[in-house]
């Protein structure tokens, strides 16, 4: 028992380690999750404690973005790889889930075709393309959610890191990657619904997607996934592997000369990050109800980076907070002053990079340090 407690406290309390302050965060997240779910289910709609299903879905969406931000933070904050194409992995995971949901519609589509999704009937296709086979099985779809982004990240990372493409080059190539995918997913011939993407989902694993209980279940699953991913990332980054990753970030040449095959570390971290992004996409699609090629657009990928930058990279918690904050602001802004949002987002990019290079978390750290300093100074002054 004491041993358990020891490891637990070790996991949560080392302030200078990646993902410090995890415990309070996890507790807050769990409390919010439980409160929101219960109040939606038990309180009457006119009660002041009632949380609307819309809010639940919105929260679920934000949490998906938080997972996505976490995946970017893992590679950018800890390994210095600035990926401007992480939206691609997110969207690929989303498409895998979307394909499963599409197959679940069955003959309830507009054309009533039991095998083919509506858009294929519309395009006069007479049979499912090979990559749609088996996607009606939930477990196959779930494997694809992780496998497709992971595989793409592996191939891409292996090619890029092996030939030592770094810095801005790498960033732009990742952007080109998502741009190329954007162009291809827009094509009807690709078999992913073209411009309109996949939508009109009915149910998941037999549960109606419009039901409150399904929505809450998805929200709870998303929260738990976020907590799990957070703890897992923390564990990975605290391990020996994580130390090498940080060494690569700080000086890749030195790490290489010491004898580490840095490109392998980078590839595996990249794959891990892509899989998380894919999972986030898979959780996102049933809650939002649509996936279309817009998710591949370079601008949405670069938006993820700004969440992380605002929250503070290399802190894990910061990425999550940044994603929640920016997306909340976005929801608010686009509802009231839609044309101001891009100004605000642009200004955020500039101001954060200029004045808050370590994000909000770094700002808090700085304030704390300053307080500590002045306290010490006071202590020194007092005795005299």
């Amino acid at each position: 028992m004491s041993l358990n407690l020891n490891t637990l406290s070790k996991l949560f309390d080392r302030g200078d380690q990646p993902g410090s302050r995890t415990l309070p965060f996890v507790v807050v997240l769990l409390v919010v999750m439980v409160f929101a779910s219960i109040s939606n289910l038990t309180f009457p709609t006119d009660s002041m404690f009632y949380v609307t299903t819309y809010t639940i879905t919105l929260l679920g969406k934000y949490l998906c973005f938080a997972i996505l931000a976490l995946s970017v933070d893992v590679i950018w904050g800890y390994c210095g790889i600035l990926s401007l194409g992480h939206g691609a992995f997110f969207a690929l995971g989303g498409y895998a889930m979307g394909m499963y949901l599409m197959r679940q519609i069955g003959d309830r589509g507009v054309y009533g075709n039991a095998d083919l999704p509506d858009f294929m009937v519309f395009l006069n296709w007479d049979q499912l393309p090979w990559f749609w086979q088996g996607m009606d099985q939930f477990w196959i779809a779930m494997i694809m959610v992780a496998l497709v982004p992971g595989l793409l990240a592996f191939v891409f990372g292996w090619l890029a890191f092996r030939s030592r493409v770094t810095g801005v080059y790498l960033s732009i190539i990742t952007q080109a990657l998502t741009y190329a995918l954007l162009l291809s997913f827009f094509r009807n011939e690709m078999g992913f619904g073209g411009n309109n993407g996949l939508t009109d989902f009915k149910d998941i694993l037999g549960f109606n997607l419009q039901e409150d209980s399904t929505r809450i279940a998805l929200f709870v699953i998303t929260s738990l996934t976020l907590i799990f991913v957070l703890l897992l990332s923390r564990a990975i980054l605290n391990s020996r592997f994580g130390k090498v990753i940080v060494a690569v970030r700080d000086s890749e040449d030195r790490a290489r000369f010491i004898g580490y095959r840095t490109e392998r570390y980078k590839v595996w971290l990249f794959v891990y990050s892509a899989i998380i992004a894919g999972v986030a996409g898979a959780l996102y699609v049933p809650q939002v109800g649509i996936i279309n090629p817009g998710e591949f657009s370079p601008i949405s990928s670069i938006e993820i980076v700004i969440w992380v930058a605002i929250g503070g990279r290399g802190t894990l918690i910061g990425a999550i907070l940044g994603a929640l904050l920016v997306n909340y602001a976005k929801t608010r802004f686009t509802a009231v002053l839609p044309e101001v949002w891009l100004f605000a987002l642009g200004a955020l990019f500039v101001l954060v990079t200029l004045y808050l290079p370590k994000g909000l978390m770094g700002f808090v750290e700085q304030m704390k340090a300053r307080k500590l300093q002045s306290k010490q100074r006071n202590m020194q002054e007092l005795p005299s």
Partner: protein, 555 residues
Amino acid sequence: MRAIVITFMCLISLLSSVVYASVDAPLGNEMGSEIETPPFNTEIQNLLTEMTRVKLNKVIPVLKALEEQAAAESVLDQMLPMFNTMLNGELYYVKKTKQLVAIRKIEGEKKHFSVFKQELITSLPKKATKKIRVNNKVRRFLRETISRLQLSAGDPESREKAVISLLSELDDSTIATLKELKETEENQAVLEIMAVAIAMHTLEHNQDAAQRLEAVTALSGRLEREVHNLLVKVEIAEEDLHVKKAITKSLKLIDQQISNYEFVDKVFFGLSLGSVLFLAAIGLAITFGVMGVINMAHGEMIMLGAYTTYVVQMLLPNAIEYSLWLAIPLAFLVSGSMGVLIERLVIRHLHGRPLETLLATFGISLILQQLVRTVFSPLNRQVESPTWMSGTLDINPVLSLTLNRLYILAFAFLVFGLLMLILNKTSLGLNVRAVAQNRNMAKAMGIRTDRVDAITFGLGSGVAGMAGVALSQLTNVGPNLGQSYIIDSFMVVVFGGVGNLWGTLVAGFSLGLANKFIEPITGAVLASILVLVFIILFIQKRPKGLFPQKGRAAE
């Protein structure tokens, strides 16, 4: 001569329409009193009135009679404006007096014109006129008649065009006219095309195999589509073996030539795309080469240049022919000063942090895009091309090069030459190259690197602005104009090698060519995807691009 007169008349009518617009209300003339009485005798006059009465399917005989009568009176050339007006469906008549008038839209407003002198008529109410209807049959007849009229026209060029437009409808009477005119024709090009027309007729209708064979020989190597169609048509029906062989042979030759010219056409389009890519990328190549930072707002510098062109044109609506010359330096100034501003305010403070620079400049690009959306509108704007840039350069019936692309190609080379001069022959260029090679050493030698940075950034952005002027001539100007070029430009820079203008040139043109040659096989989208994938793979092999910097400078 006649063309000049007509142009002059058009000008006058345009001018008078301007005058008319400034007068509030037309003076109370009697309705239609301004309409000229055509200077023809009564017979022609009667035929003209007849035209307003007969039904659509009876109008051709009237027109024929009109042509004959006019030829007899030798006033045929004066009928030309009437035929043209009718062909365009602009011929109306006044209901009461049965006089002919033309209605043309000027600045969106319908205006009446007299038919024969093309003068503005202001006193007619809109509903006083009725249209003289034409159908395809009438149109075809009119077109032939007009060509026949133009066959005897003053300048060789319109004569040649007239013969070409006759090629599809050769009948015995036309051939007779052609043969007659051929005797007196002096221009070589017109003679040639007349010979082609006659040979085509011979091949189709002559019974004598020897003459047909001769005709085939005369036709071989001609690229006109009508010749090709005719040869394909007669090849099947031909009975004489020799002639048939000759036809097959010359068809093969023509096909070969056509595919050659199509290849040239593709190369031209590839070069044109390449010149656009080059223009978009060259500014980025300079800033990236010297400062090692990517300006994600580079595309917006292009956009600003394009909008500058638009604004200049809005301010000088009467000088579209020349406003481009003003727009080029202005765009350079606007984008250049914006570049200097960005460098001073943002990029300088992020020195040595290229990834953060990338993010900050991306933010700037968002702000600029939204700014343009707020100021102008999210919709695309059309920039008009001056007349000397629109149109095509017809080399032969298969190959015609669009002039604006040709000019932009030349412009790209001009910009390249200028930049080479600046970078290699001026002290500024020396400083820029020194900073690019070794910043600290340059600083130690007394070069003010921060000033060089600012100037370089201004230069790169200014060139992007000039690229925007060129792009505005090819596509619509919109807030997203620049966004679509940033990835392409970066690909060009990476492909060519950083800090190397020659590399950028070669890379831009080879990517443009590659795109245009893959496009017909795979479609435009897949072509650009393939090019992207190719570059991603290319960087694996040669991370420093096609022309890497060598020696210590590369570190």
